[in-house]
């Protein structure tokens, strides 16, 4: 199957006063049509930057794209002009964000924000777009969608606003939806509803989804494939089962161990010792080296080559076998 989005050796750095922050430092993976790819990692691992940057949603400077390819439907997004990119954003690639409280404009009615993608990309009249947007709100389970269109964001709860964001992102039937921590700011019960909603819509529309999260519970419930990121690098990719049951990377293992589980109640939750590295002084070696319990001499000097098992499961580690 041809990938919808193919990211190859993509690098994006921030040029700050303190130095160069290598936020995305050579990442490679594919997203296939109709599938959900979850990107997991700690804060600052580059998960969000790796997506926002190639869509032109981060200010340049300080961000600078340093190389690689991001092929969407076979076209390299990195070679596109701002105008070309803008035609893709909100049309073929839509996004929803972490903070439903602040991601909608508080000064404008929900309706006038909802219709924008349809008016811009589909050349609908405001009236047609209003009708379609109202239907979109109904599809995400908002009762009295007519009234909702006339309301302002502050009149809604966080969960409702996230539904609005989702409905808005889907008005143009995008091929790819990038969801940047869509449930992080929500109550646990609302989280489940939103994930369920995303899943059902995705199956209906045969849409691909990139789910950025630090919550492994969310990954297990919704993803087909997983990318584990750390310090701007991809450490391991594979199917959900590969990552959860056959993970080969010490970092993935440590991450899994430090996730609370209902079926294995432990007195104390294991944590990963140490802190993520400062991305300014990150060396040529493996960035996890200092915190890794399997560290070897070579880890310090060079980043490991790809190891793989089957077509999908890939990881980057010098350690042959971890127990």
């Amino acid at each position: 199957m041809k990938p919808l989005l193919s990211i190859q050796d993509y690098k994006a750095h921030f040029y700050t006063r303190r130095g160069i922050v290598k936020a995305v430092n050579g990442i490679t993976y594919d997203v296939h049509p109709g599938q959900t790819l979850a990107i997991v990692g700690e804060s600052g691992s580059g998960k969000s930057v790796s997506q926002l940057s190639y869509l032109g949603l981060l200010p340049t400077p300080p961000l600078k794209i340093m190389g690689g390819q991001v092929l969407f439907d076979g076209n390299d997004l990195l070679q596109m002009s701002e105008d070309q990119l803008r035609k893709i954003r909100g049309d073929k690639i839509s996004m929803i964000f972490q903070e439903p409280m602040t991601s909608l404009n508080p000064y404008l009615k929900i309706g006038s924000q909802m219709i924008e993608p349809l008016v811009i990309h589909r050349k609908k009249t405001k009236k047609e777009a209003w009708k379609l947007a109202t239907q979109a709100l109904e599809r995400v389970g908002l009762s009295r969608a007519d009234q909702a269109m006339e309301s302002y964001p502050h009149e809604f709860s966080g969960g409702m606003r996230q539904r609005v964001m989702i409905a808005m992102a889907l008005t143009t039937d995008p091929k790819l939806l990038i969801a940047d921590e869509p449930t992080t700011a929500l109550d646990v019960t609302v989280q489940a509803q939103i994930l369920e909603l995303l899943k059902s819509i995705q199956q209906e529309n045969k849409m691909a989804m990139i789910l950025i999260t630090h919550d492994l519970g969310v990954v297990a419930g919704s993803a087909d494939e997983v990318v584990v990121m750390y310090a701007g690098r991809v450490f391991e990719t594979g199917s959900v089962d590969d990552i959860f049951y056959r993970s080969q990377h010490p970092y993935t293992r440590a991450l899994l161990r430090s996730t609370p589980r209902l079926d294995k109640l432990e007195k104390e939750l294991p944590v990963i010792q140490g802190n993520p590295p400062d991305l300014i002084s990150v060396s040529e070696g493996c960035p996890f080296y200092e915190r890794c319990s399997y560290q070897k001499e070579i880890c310090k000097r060079e980043f490991p080559r790809e190891s793989s098992l089957g077509a999908k499961h890939k990881w980057f580690c010098h350690v042959e076998k971890i127990s």
Partner: protein, 306 residues
Amino acid sequence: MGINYVLKRLAIMVPIFFLVVTLVFFMIRFAPGGPFSSEKTVSAAILKNLEAKYHMDEPLLSQYVRYWKDLFRGDLGPSFKHANRTVNEIIAEALPISLELGLLALTWAVLIGVSAGGLAALKPNTVYDYVPMAFSILGICLPTFVVGPVLVLVFGLWLQWLPVAGWETWQDRVLPSLTLGFAYAAYISRLTRGGLIEIRGQEFIRTARAKGLSESEIVIKHSLRGGLLPVVSYLGPALAGIITGALVTETIFNIPGLGRFFIESAVNRDYTVVMGTSLLYFTLIFICNFLVDIIYAILDPRVKYE
């Protein structure tokens, strides 16, 4: 925001109005000197006549009561200094001029300030930011009595495009209103820049970008409304101040506006004119702030008045 809110606002005005009248009435009278003390020595008999004419020989309290009685009839009393003129006449003549000058100046201030601030906010830390903001610092620092004469010198005397004084034709309006509006434009440009830069860092601007809106659509539809709220708040007090406080501009361009009376009356202890202009200033501030609050609620749907 309903009729209840409006009534409430008006009701609050009553005690404040009472307080302003009382405070100004007694403060100006307790200040040393009086309306006739700077005159060349007048004979005791004449002084007595003068005081009797203006009821200054009565006890202070009965003067106070008399003032209230007149005020209820809308009579602000006779001027102590300008013979044969009442305060009502003075205000009726000068207020329209001051109002016109003030509104023109504020129009300049908003036009220039918002465009300069907007430009700076769109390209922060570039030459489009530094140049307007340098001018803005200049505008805030340079007093009107420097800006006015410089404008007169350049456009009036050297280029001879515009008249240097007077208040007859539309050309007469240009230099005074620019002079008066300059400092306000400078301040508004900084407010605009700050407000817009803050809004443009908000997450909903990223959402707008993610939806594929162009930069100009983002500015016009998503940024201006929230970004200009600080400017709107500032315009209320600014308008009241600009109408009554244009003394320097009025003097430079020889315009018979209110500002002159406002200052002169205090210097001359012209009690009734001090009272009249203070009450006018208070009423203007009240009305302007009220209007600003209403506009604010229209612009920001989260603001609710009860």
